[in-house]
Each structure stands twice: as C-alpha cells, then as structure tokens.
C-alpha cells in the first residue's frame, strides 16, 4: 500500500484502539491487530484513491469499500469474518483520505502458513474446510455477491469448534447485476494464481456467477491438501500463468495425495474445471457430499 500512515498517525485518528500490530498489507488496505476496550479486533485502514481531474474516482472507490463493509454487516454465517466495534468513518492523514473500520480478529493461522509448514491435512479436515467455505459462499451467493478472492491466505483455521475455518476479505467482492466495481472493466481483479478461468474471458462480468468461488474453493482445497498450487510457478511470466489457468488441467489430486479417498479427490478436481458448467453448482448437495468425508 502506498502512503501507509505511521502507527502514531493512526492512533491519533483511532484513539479507542491501542497495541497495534500489523497483520497484513494489500494494494490499498492495511490491517492491524489492535486492542479496543476489552476486545482484540482487526483494525482496517483503506486508502481511498482519488483523481483531482475526476471526482467520480473517489466516489467510486468509496462506494466499493462501503459495499464490502455493507455485505459483511448483512452476513450472518459464522464462516465469514464479522464487523467489529469501529463503524466505518472517513479520516485524513497527511494529504490522503482513508476509511477506517474494524472487523473481529480471528486468532489462528491462515491456511497459507500451514501449507508453508508442510502440514498435510486429513480428509476430515479438508472436508471441514470445504463445508465452512461453501456455507460462506452460499450466503454471499444468496445476496448475489461473489467473493472472488478465496485463497489459503484468506482462510483462517480458528480454534473455535463452532467455526473451525473462517473466510476473510471481501475487498474485491463482485455484485452480480450491479454496477462495475472498477473503472477499468477490462482489468481482472483478484490474486493472479487464484483467478477463475472464466474471469479471463472478454466481458466476463456478463456471465460471472458464484461458480467462480466454487473454483477457488476447489483450488484452495487442492493446495491445502497437496501443498501445490498447480498454476503458481514463480519463475513464469504472467501470461504463462494465465495460459495455465485457462488451459492446463492440473494433475489429478489423487496423484499427489494417494492416501485421500478417490471420490474426495475427484470432487476437488471437478470443482476446478475450467468451464463453470462442469462444476457441480448445487451447494447444498456439495456440502452433503463433503459431510460424508468428515
């Protein structure tokens, strides 16, 4: 994030919070773990990009961030992060404008950390991850919202048995049938290695639906199970990665984790199909199938 303010600056704007500890930093947003009263929460500071020549840029970005917060506020599922005690408010630090708000802090490692630690989950754990994510996606889909950024970094393994895995970050969520979220409608938002193949089609917004999230659930399960993202070859130029995402069929999961049931591996492979029509779309039926592996 450009123009990341100092902790001292943030403290002046958010005096109710203390003990800031950075959790992560994205393109336009930085998140801190912080103490707010008796609770620990995640304080988020989103920079609002603007353009002096075009005031609508600021308005649009503001709308986008507020939409994320609005969607989170409406979700009731335990498997999506919830809003915290700081309601969204504008603040200006230096010459930059920000929106500050808080979300609950979910203690626990992201799946990314477990993958880096070479942790190999059992089929029951994988099924649990899938069920939690499907519940979150089902609730978002009911609101015509697509998350678009499901990946191991955004999935926290929590210590709470009622919500063992929690999905974070609706920053690039897409509202089906809504107005474009970005000015450049040709730009593909998301994290390169976790972009659903249909998002690479020209005019993808026309046809995008929650099956893009089913794809990234499949990919996250695949990576968590095997430790391998089949499209992430760091030495590759971007177009090679995009080609892989669009064309290359990943190695069947069963070849990488022969200890897992074949039916489970086949289901994960099926969720990662390039063509949305080839992914099973009935979320209730998918959850039921995964229940069988718990």
């Amino acid at each position: 994030m450009e123009n990341k303010p100092s902790i001292e600056d943030i403290l002046r704007e958010v005096p109710e919070a203390s003990n800031f500890e950075e959790l992560g930093c994205g393109g336009y947003k930085v998140a801190y773990k912080a103490q707010i009263g008796a609770r620990v929460e995640a304080v988020k500071l989103a920079c609002i990009p603007s353009d002096e020549k075009d005031p609508s840029v600021r308005e649009e970005n503001m709308r986008r961030i507020r939409r994320e917060i609005d969607v989170l506020g409406k979700c009731s599922t335990a498997y999506l992060v919830k809003l915290g005690s700081i309601a969204p408010r504008d603040c200006t630090i230096g010459s930059n404008e920000y929106l500050v708000y808080s979300e609950e802090y979910i203690p626990g490692p992201p799946l990314r950390k477990l993958i880096l630690d070479d942790y190999r989950p059992t089929v029951a754990e994988l099924a649990e991850v899938g069920i939690c994510l499907l519940q979150a996606v089902q609730e978002l889909a009911a609101m015509n919202v697509i998350h678009r950024d499901i990946k191991p970094d955004n999935i926290i393994k929590s210590s709470d048995p009622d919500r063992p895995y929690v999905l974070l970050d609706l920053g690039i969520a897409f509202h089906v049938g809504g107005t474009p979220l970005t000015r450049d409608t040709n730009r593909v938002p998301g994290t390169l290695y976790y972009i659903a193949p249909e998002m690479l089609d020209v005019g993808f917004r026309q046809n995008l639906d929650y099956r893009a999230d089913l794809y990234t659930i499949g990919l996250s399960l695949y990576e968590f199970a095997s430790g391998d993202n089949p499209f992430a070859h760091r030495s590759d130029p971007q177009f090679t990665t995009l080609y892989r995402i669009k064309i290359q069929t990943p190695n069947a999961l069963h070849h990488l984790r022969s200890d897992l049931p074949i039916d489970f591996c086949a289901l994960v492979d099926q969720l990662m199909k390039k063509l949305p029509a080839l992914r099973p779309s009935n979320i209730a039926a998918l959850r039921k199938r995964l229940e069988g592996f718990r």
Binding site: D209, D269, K273, L275, P276, L278, R279, S281, N282
Partner: protein, 393 residues
C-alpha cells in the same frame, strides 16, 4: 443406462416384443404419428403388461413455429388441445410460454407417464438467437409452471438444438453455463440434436457435434439433471459413458436421427435395405454385406439371439429388435460407473472397429456408403475433443 424405443408410425408389436425381451426399458411416444386416443390406450396397455416400463411423450411443440405452412405435415399433433401455431414474437412473451406449458401439462395430466416432458421450440441456428432465448425461457419456466399443475411426476424440459449451434464453441459454452444455473431446474432434460436430414450421417458423426453433445450430457448430469437423449441411436453408449441416463432409437431412419424433415412430406422412394447393427463395427451394414463379411470375419456378427433372424433375410419388423439388442449389449459393455474407464472402452471399441474395417478392405469386400468407416474418425476426434474440453487430459 436405459434404452428407449423412439416410437413413430407403425409400432405394431415391436414395442411389446422389445419390452418383453428386455431389449428396451420403455418408449417415447410421438403425437405426430398416433391419434391421441390410440396413444392413451397403448400407454394403458404397456402399463398393464409391463408395469415397470418407462413411458414418455415428446410434445413435439418444436413444429409449432412452422405448423401453418402448407408443406408441413404435423400428423395427429393437431389432436392435442394445447398445440397451436405460434410465432417467435408471440413466444418472446413469458406469459405465452407459461400458457403453452400450462395447457400442455393439463393435456397430459391424465396420462400414466413415467415423467412429463415439457414442450419447447427448436433452436435452428445458434445459441445466440431469439430462438435460444425463447428455448431458455421454456426451460426456466417449465418446473415452476409444472409445480402449479399438481402433477407428482418428475419433469423433463426439452432441448432441441440444431447441429450447427453445437459447432459454435463460445455460444455453446455460454448456453450450458446458463442452463446449469437455473434457480428451479427440471428433474431432467430430453435432449434432441437435429441434423439437416436424417439421412445426413455426417451431420451427426461430426467431431464438434459429438464432443459438444457429450459435454452437454456431462454438464447436466454433474449438476444432478437426468438426460434422456432422443434419437441418439448408435451414439447412445458414448453419451451414457459421460452421464446420460438414457438414449433412444426407432425403426425408421427418421426415428434414429432427428431432423425437422420428419415434419415434411417424404419424397417417397423404395423401402430401405434391411440392415444389421454390428457391435464391433459400431455401424449398420446391409444383410448381404453381413453375409459376405462373416464368411471371413465371424466377429462382425454380435453373437446375440436376434442374429438368428438374419438367416435368411429378416422381416423389416425384426430389424429394430436386432438394433435394440445390439445397442443394449454395447451399452452394457462400454458404459461403466467410472467415466475414465468408459471412455477407454469407447476408444478401444473404435480401435477394434478400425482394425476390422481394415481387414474387410484388405479382403476386397465392397461396402455401400452408409456401411463404411466414415463415422470412426469423427467419433475418435469427438471423444478426444470432449476429453480436452472436459479437462480429462
């Protein structure tokens, strides 16, 4: 997978024989070819004698767009109260589509069918057309309207699509993406692929057509929608391997491959030559060819009970029983619970057919144009293209 009789004009005893011998699992009636009252009594008879048989009616509403033409032969479809000639502009209104559906469901309410097949129009050009929009409207509205009818049976939507539409990959993929995301989907789809003429084998045995026909079956079945393939004939096992629940074929060439020609007066001509469906060739050959080839290569004969009908040349009525028997046996051999194994079986079957065709050629036995191996390359390439597109590489 199940095999149904595609019932047309002149069923005679074929249906009851096919059911009694366990060659078919049921039949799909054609309003064009049978008085409605006759159809009802036929269905009642099947219910009496073969209670377990599956019975359907194809509404054949796809002829509605040109039913007014003086050259169209809609036969007994006009017996049906729901049926009328409509224009595309009428059908663009969802209330017209709802009305057609409702009236059809009322029309079949008293029939003892296994499942009801909803009417639809024929997509005659592309998936990016007014017709495709209307067809989607029929599919989308079928289940909600059917639920209001109070009929407890399962509902199949019809999808009748020309082979040209299946050749446009992009439009096709967008269409199936939509089709598999319906809020209230039907229990199944009755799928018909239409060629320009039921004699134009190359319309059906075409790489893109086969690949997309298979892909359509796979995508629907993955999404829990049963698929009955009308007029699928020899392609039946190939569709079964990728998830189809049933295929169908009948006794005339226009009951084996679908074309809208079926609703225009036929040009007449002599009776077609009686043919024998050879499993190993995945094709029909003439009686005389079967005789000549089997002297050198016994494997051209299926080794099934109805082979006996071909010694000497059989009556016409026996031909379809032999076809059903051979297809049933091919289904049993090729279609397994596992798609990868099934696809391997199909590939091996094509390879076996190639080898035998090569042996026949080496022996210098001439074959007529329909008996030759022209179908094998599109089958093989269609299979390959399907696997690539379905990410099964």
């Amino acid at each position: 997978m199940k095999l149904y009789a595609q019932i047309g004009h002149g069923p005679g005893e074929k249906l009851s024989l096919g059911l009694s011998e366990g060659l078919i699992d049921g039949g799909i009636f054609s309003p064009k070819d049978m008085q409605k009252a006759t159809m009802k009594s036929r269905i009642a008879e099947i219910r009496r004698t073969h209670a377990e048989a599956d019975v359907f009616v194809d509404p054949q509403f796809y002829v509605s767009l040109f039913a007014d033409s003086p050259t169209t032969n809609i036969g007994y479809i006009s017996n049906w109260e729901y049926f009328r000639s409509l224009r595309k502009s009428d059908l663009e209104l969802p209330q017209t589509v709802e009305k057609v559906l409702k009236e059809y469901f009322d029309d079949v309410k008293e029939m003892d069918l296994t499942a009801v097949i909803a009417p639809n129009i024929h997509i005659s050009q592309s998936f990016d057309s007014r017709e495709a929009v209307i067809a989607k409207s029929f599919i989308r509205l079928a289940k909600p309207v059917f639920e209001k009818s109070g009929n407890p049976r399962p509902l199949y939507a019809s999808l009748v699509v020309c082979r040209e539409a299946l050749q446009d990959r992009r439009e096709f993929e967008e269409f199936i993406n939509d089709l598999t995301m319906l809020q209230n989907p039907p229990d199944g789809v009755y799928l018909i692929v239409a060629g320009r003429s039921s004699e134009a084998r190359s319309d059906y045995f075409h790489t893109d057509v086969i690949a997309n026909w298979m892909l359509l079956n796979l995508s629907l079945s993955i999404n829990g929608i049963q698929v009955i393939n009308g007029y699928s004939d020899i392609l039946t096992p190939f569709l079964g391997v990728v998830g189809a629940s049933a295929g169908a074929t009948g006794w005339w060439s226009n009951l084996r491959m679908f074309s809208m020609d079926r609703f225009f007066p036929s040009g007449g001509g002599r009776q077609p030559i009686t043919r024998y469906l050879s499993k190993v060739l995945i094709n029909r050959i003439t009686f005389a060819e079967k005789d000549a080839i089997s002297r050198f290569f016994e494997e051209v004969v299926n080794g099934l009970p109805h082979d006996a009908d071909y010694n000497p040349e059989p009556e016409r009525a026996a031909e379809v029983l032999q076809s059903w028997e051979a297809l049933r046996s091919l289904n049993d051999e090729l279609v397994t619970g596992d798609m990868a194994t099934g696809l391997d079986n199909c590939r091996n079957a094509i390879e076996r057919a190639r080898e035998l065709y090569a042996d026949i050629a080496a022996q210098g036995i001439p074959l007529d144009s329909k008996s030759r191996d022209d179908h094998l390359t599109p089958l093989e390439e269609g299979l390959g293209q399907f696997e690539e597109r379905a990410g099964l590489g």
